[in-house]
Amino acid sequence: MTSTTPYILYLEDDEIEVLKFRLAFSSLQSTYGLEACQNGEDGLLFLSQNKHHLPSFILLDLNMPIMNGFEFLEKVKSSATYKKIPIIIFSSSNNQSDIIFSYDLQVAGYFVKPFNPDDYKKVIEKINRYWEECKL
């Protein structure tokens, strides 16, 4: 990835989920690159090291060790530098309170990870296409 390539930052602690995502994502021929961090703390560190080339949007898992998705969201949304980065929740939780709380914290969308690989690919495709066409 060059320093000007737009990219997605995916925060996910589960290595299998990241590999699954990479597999599906690489089949999309997206214009985005992909970076991944293992938890909220790593994500914040990554953002601070890439202030001049921030991600186009962040895909965020909720259930992570050290700093979970909600804690990360609160930090990012209270930062003048990062608060405009769209954040999309990509979680296996379909718990209504998680969904409501996420929107309270100004997420740009909430997607539940589908079980089926076809559906999984479709969701990633939709997210990717939407943000590729959005003016950011």
């Binding site: 299998i16 597999l23 259930n63 296996s92 690919k121």
Partner: protein
């Protein structure tokens, strides 16, 4: 250990039976082969057999023309090439299966209901044209995490919330292996723990059983792990 006596004179069918029985994820099965009813009789005297499976025709004669009494004390199944076989005998078989013998038949014999069985599949990798190296890496991660889960649940006292966190991490693995029933069970169990702060030990036991099935499957279906 389940012991099956298979009466069959065709080498290919014998090999197929061995393959099916050695690739079942749930139970270990020992298959005894007999090429005719005389050999079958000897095996039955020397071993405790749980089920008999016989080809419909042994040495070009219907099995009913051989020593039918031999079958009367055992649950037995008949394999046939015919769609509508006519089998007249005093002790009818539990069921007649059309060849080739497949896993589904074996599950029926072992009385697995549809609900109990959750088939493991590696088709996810084909869908995304995964390289063998990456597939191996991912299966290796699954194997390690499943072993870790079994170790932690067997050897440590976990608080309900700790167990919920461990369960949460299993979902992606069952999803990758196409095990939807288990995936749903894990999610339900995790959610129930988070809502009630109590552990459903029956569900946990089922999940652990499925994990053991996966580990056995991976041992039988991967060469280098």
């Amino acid at each position: 250990m389940i012991k099956i006596l298979y009466i069959e004179d065709d080498q290919l069918d014998k090999r197929n039976m061995d393959w099916v029985c050695s690739n079942i994820e749930t139970d270990s099965i020992e298959v005894f082969h007999a090429i005719d009813f005389k050999e079958a009789k000897t095996i039955l005297v020397q071993n405790t057999i749980d089920y008999i499976i016989t080809d419909q025709y042994i040495e070009e004669k219907c099995y009913t023309e051989h020593e039918e009494d031999l079958l009367k004390d055992y649950p037995y199944y008949v394999l046939t090439n015919s769609i509508n076989p006519t089998i007249k005998n005093q002790y009818p078989p539990q069921k007649i299966f059309i060849k080739p013998f497949v896993k589904k038949h074996l599950y029926e014999i072992l009385e697995y209901s549809e609900n109990q069985y959750d088939e493991i599949s590696l088709s996810y990798f084909d869908q995304f044209e995964t390289s063998p190296e990456l597939q191996e890496k991912m299966l290796h991660i699954i194997q390690e995490e499943f072993q870790d889960f079994l170790f932690k649940t067997d050897h440590t006292t976990l608080e309900p919330i700790q167990l919920a966190t461990l369960l949460h991490k299993l979902c992606s693995k069952f999803s990758l292996l196409g095990m939807e029933k288990t995936y749903c069970l894990v999610k339900e169990t995790e959610n129930a723990i988070r809502e009630t702060d109590t552990i459903d030990f029956k569900a946990l036991s089922t999940i652990k059983e499925r994990i053991k099935n996966v580990l056995l499957f991976l041992e039988n279906n991967t060469t280098t792990i």
